[in-house]
Symmetry: C2
């Protein structure tokens, strides 16, 4: 039996969805169909949603789970009429918080992204530009201004990680691909000169050879570049390099980009330039 879980908000739905997934993932033996409904901000939309929940309840043969962060009280009252198990985040926590803080909440939608956040926007844009300018191919080498320099073999996840760091935390991440030239210098495991003077900013990524081979096959099928042999060799040398120079590193096979980024920030004491949401 599949249950439907609705993540509902009068804003982006990101909070409801993040929390909802987190809660439901604690029930490993159950299957849920996830439906996110953002911007439910009028009575009309609320009524349409109630109808959808009713239909879903009938189809599933069981009432859906609703996880919501609706701020508008009139809208919330309508949604509360739906035949669902309600996890109402704001009404659960705001009243006790109001008491603790001895003040009333302003109860406004989307306050996390209010105006006056111009510098957040600018930090993000600058960090994204920095990541793009200092990505793999581009090689601008603005390493002086980098908060962190990601290193690793081609296609191990450097670019998505540096972009995530930029978008989520405003962190300026350059990245440098370890090529055969860097890795193969008679096994001396020397750091490339452009990197060695920024050793304290380096962070290594590694990856499972099988996955790397699969990813590289998408780009260049039937090449030496994507062969298991080549992938295994490059990875072994990169990891040896990290160990020799005492560079922290993370396996991108085992962790999501969120986890890699938050672990990096946590381990290396990187300063976030802002925190969105």
């Amino acid at each position: 039996m599949t249950r439907t879980a609705f993540f509902i908000s009068d804003g982006t739905g990101i909070t409801a969805e993040t929390l909802g997934r987190s809660l439901l993932s604690q029930f490993e033996n159950m299957e849920f169909t996830h439906v996110t409904k953002p911007y439910v901000d009028t009575l009309e939309k609320a009524n349409a949603l109630v109808t959808l929940i009713e239909t879903t309840a009938e189809r599933d043969g069981v009432r859906p789970i609703v996880i919501d962060t609706i701020v508008d009280q009139a809208v919330r009252r309508v949604v509360a009429e739906a035949p669902a198990f309600m996890v109402d985040i704001f009404s659960t926590f705001l009243a006790p918080l109001e008491e603790e803080l001895a003040t009333h909440s302003t109860y406004t939608v989307g306050r996390t992204h209010a105006i006056g956040q111009d510098d957040v926007y600018m930090h993000r844009i600058e960090a994204v530009n920095f990541a793009l300018d200092n990505d793999d191919g581009a090689r601008t080498y603005q390493y002086e201004e980098a908060d962190v320099i990601l290193i690793g073999v081609s296609r191990c996840g450097k670019t998505p990680t540096s972009l995530y760091l930029a978008l989520q935390f405003g962190v300026r991440a350059a990245n440098y691909p370890l090529t055969e030239d860097d890795l193969d210098e008679n096994g001396t495991l020397t750091l490339p000169a452009s990197l060695s003077k920024h050793r304290h900013k380096l962070f290594g990524l590694t990856i499972d050879a099988r996955r790397l081979s699969a990813i590289r096959t998408e780009r260049r099928p039937n090449s030496r570049y994507c062969s298991m042999d080549q992938c295994m060799q490059e990875i072994a040398q990169a990891e040896a390099l990290y160990r020799k120079h005492n560079i922290s590193y993370i396996d991108t096979t085992r962790f999501s980009i969120e986890e890699i980024s938050t672990r990096m920030i946590n381990e290396s004491g990187l300063q976030r330039r802002f925190s969105p949401r």
Copy 2:
């Protein structure tokens, strides 16, 4: 008086922080110092954290707010001893959910990012690559495979938005910069040929002229490109183009990248290829 709010987790801390910021933003008249503590996953770290909370309470002269998603019960018991107002997300909601679902939660850390999510990773990587290959300068024009094509004047926010869509939702977003050549054709407001056959995939971005001028000034100071006149003219023409061709558009000055992306998905019925977290 500033209160300190701790967002604590034995995982990435993303859920605790997202919900925490959302809740606290409802108290507009209060100031909070935010501290995120991810990966509190041993009794040792928990004890160190309790000490930090104690010191903070003394310094602030008021007990901190703690918003946590700690799954490990032994760790949570330690943290619960801290002198703080606790918003304990999992213990608040898991018990009622267990009852509703008539099952026990598995109570494991970080289940949202478990193994077996290989295809999520691949979707993200592919979508990021797609965004980069089809970004402004690159011009690969893989518009057939695009889920959406963002259009707008130079520096209005296309690249960060397309990258966010890729990373968060696996959506393949190409982007096309509207240049003077596109905009200025004797005021006929014709869509560039490469775009007109994909009109249903187009989504416009616009921006406040003052902010655009500031952003462009960072890239090319004292240029015609960054002058208010030039910015105002390009924006007016781009918006006229959107209206003439009935293209949905969003003002990136008024909304965060999260909001732009979720609104786009909501309005255009884009399919998310996955939902992380």
